[in-house]
Symmetry: C2
Subunit: 335 residues, 2 copies
């Protein structure tokens, strides 16, 4: 049986290009005792994958050249030699950019397709949802009446973080790229305001809308958005550092001066807490998260948007576009 | 009755100079009902005073031009019209760079001169001691076997932070300026090692000695010490940001490139916690702190060193010297 997959062909210098990926067809290994054969239905595309394409230390080892690009997937079990899994089951897996895979049951999670659309297991009821929930609540610790600013507010993580902040009674300000996304964040997701990071006056725009300063900044971006936020942080403010998409493909540091002293001075004099996190740090909270998020979804308090492209071949360009903010909602590849 | 005091004469551009201070003699107001007349015995000189000399937002309002420089003091009550205070009592006050003051009892703390040398109420059993204790234990959260790096390790705060880390079972590395201080930190204070920040190979020296990385960095300095520490921080490391003496007198940002992305990337991928604090944030822990520190002192587990200069006139130059690391131990002015 043949499998089509996309492997890492070369390590990008700066922004990835299509030639950094290679579509190939390989033989699928036989399904061993205790294993299952999976057919991918949805592949999740997420910013962290940019980090795996580069060598050098990060929180996960880099993907090796010639290996499939990593990624969370929703799959159908099409053959099973493993107890507890039957043909036709739908599972969440982490088998990357490929159409099929032979997998061990460890690490698979069975889905109930009647409970929610299965694609949500890669979004609001999956890794991005837990990222938003755990980062905001554990590190951001939003209190009713506080002002929470969320970068990448229309994205898979930011949209959830901001809506949970609203549920917790906070004034919630989004930052997103372009009028359409900002309108969606305010009109559909219910944020109190959303600012376009393309604005030449972002810092002033943000100051005008954050009249009581910023208590929590959910950091997903870095760069000029961070620079606009920092002077507005209130004493004892919290900054969950979830992602830094603006700098992932940078090949050199920005020009001077070195602004590190400004950051450190703000941390000191305002007694800020900056804390980086990765979703797996909060894996133990996933049941609680999905219970809460599931209930908020049923109550209509949480909304989500998917940006779906079709076919394995679409993955590289969709991924490259996401790194430039061209997706609108949780980016998925449908097979 | 006449009072001699040192007031802020001008706001320094960069490093303070003697002309930024002015010694003046003024009439002392009469002692009102419910007040006490204090004669200063010791004045504490501390890095935070540099911040008060500048305008602009910080965690305390700036000292006004013509007003006395602020500072903690140990004083003798020489006249009292306040209940609970008698002539001859020794108190801790915050009445700044002056020989006498008329004070309200609120904010005074009576000392028992038989319990410990009264000057320690400005050092290890005072604000610097609580700063070290609270910052290290609440934010640093050192665990036995971890590596703790302490900047300004021979100073009033760093020396206590590092010794408490040793008491908690940590491997403790100091950073200080010059051979004499480093020898003192290792031989007298019992740190496992101490590196000279004047070394051209500080980053390599630190890497060589921190063979298990760094779990806690007690930040008092900023600048090149911070740059040497950051690459060595372990996952889930903690950075209590207590002070940034290397940048207090800077008139401009360092030359580029802008290293902020390196700091943010380290926070993200290593899941670091940076948290700024000021001693007053932990005022509620002072009784517990002084109980613990007092016991460690009696048991010989904590040592301290005072750097004493004599006379009010000595204060400006001693203070300027401290900002350049010329003090050796807790800097005090004795009257």
């Amino acid at each position: 049986m043949k499998n089509r997959r996309i492997v890492l062909a070369s390590r990008p210098e700066g922004e990835p290009t299509p030639t950094d990926f290679r579509l190939e067809t390989v033989d699928l290994p036989p399904v061993g005792e205790g294993q299952v054969l999976l057919k991918t239905r949805y592949l999740s595309l997420d910013p962290y994958m940019r980090g795996r394409m580069s060598e050098g230390p990060s929180y996960a080892p880099p993907t090796q050249l010639g290996e499939p690009m990593p990624g969370g997937t929703v799959c159908e079990v099409i053959d099973s030699r493993a107890q507890g899994f039957a043909k036709g089951d739908t599972v969440v897996a982490f088998n990357g950019w490929q159409e099929y895979s032979v997998a061990d049951p460890k690490g698979l999670r069975k889905l109930d397709p009647s409970a929610a659309p299965v694609s949500t297991a890669l979004g609001i009821l999956g890794m991005p949802g837990l990222t938003a929930y755990a980062g905001l609540l554990n590190i951001g610790q939003p209190k009713a009446g506080e002002t929470v600013v969320v970068a990448a507010a229309s994205g898979a993580v930011g949209s959830v973080a901001g809506q949970i902040a609203k549920i917790k009674g906070c004034r919630t300000i989004g930052i997103a790229g372009g009028r359409a996304k900002c309108d969606y964040v305010v009109n559909e997701l219910g944020f109190d305001a959303c600012l376009d990071h393309h604005s030449d006056t972002l810092a002033a725009d943000l100051k005008a809308v954050c009249t009581a300063g910023i208590h929590v900044y959910f950091e997903n971006v870095g760069g000029k958005v961070f620079e606009a936020v920092l002077p507005l942080m209130n004493d004892f403010g919290r900054v969950p550092v979830c992602g830094l998409i603006a700098q992932y493909s940078a090949t050199e540091l920005p020009p001077g001066p070195d602004r590190t002293p400004l950051v450190m001075r703000a941390i000191l004099t305002k007694r800020l807490t900056f804390r980086g996190f990765i979703v797996t740090d909060f894996a133990s909270q996933s049941a609680e998260c999905f219970r809460d998020v599931g209930q908020w979804l049923r109550e209509g308090k949480l909304k989500y948007k998917e940006d779906i492209v079709d076919g394995l071949e679409s993955a590289p360009n969709a991924f490259i576009g996401m790194l430039n903010g061209r997706n609108f909602g949780k980016l998925l590849v449908r097979f």
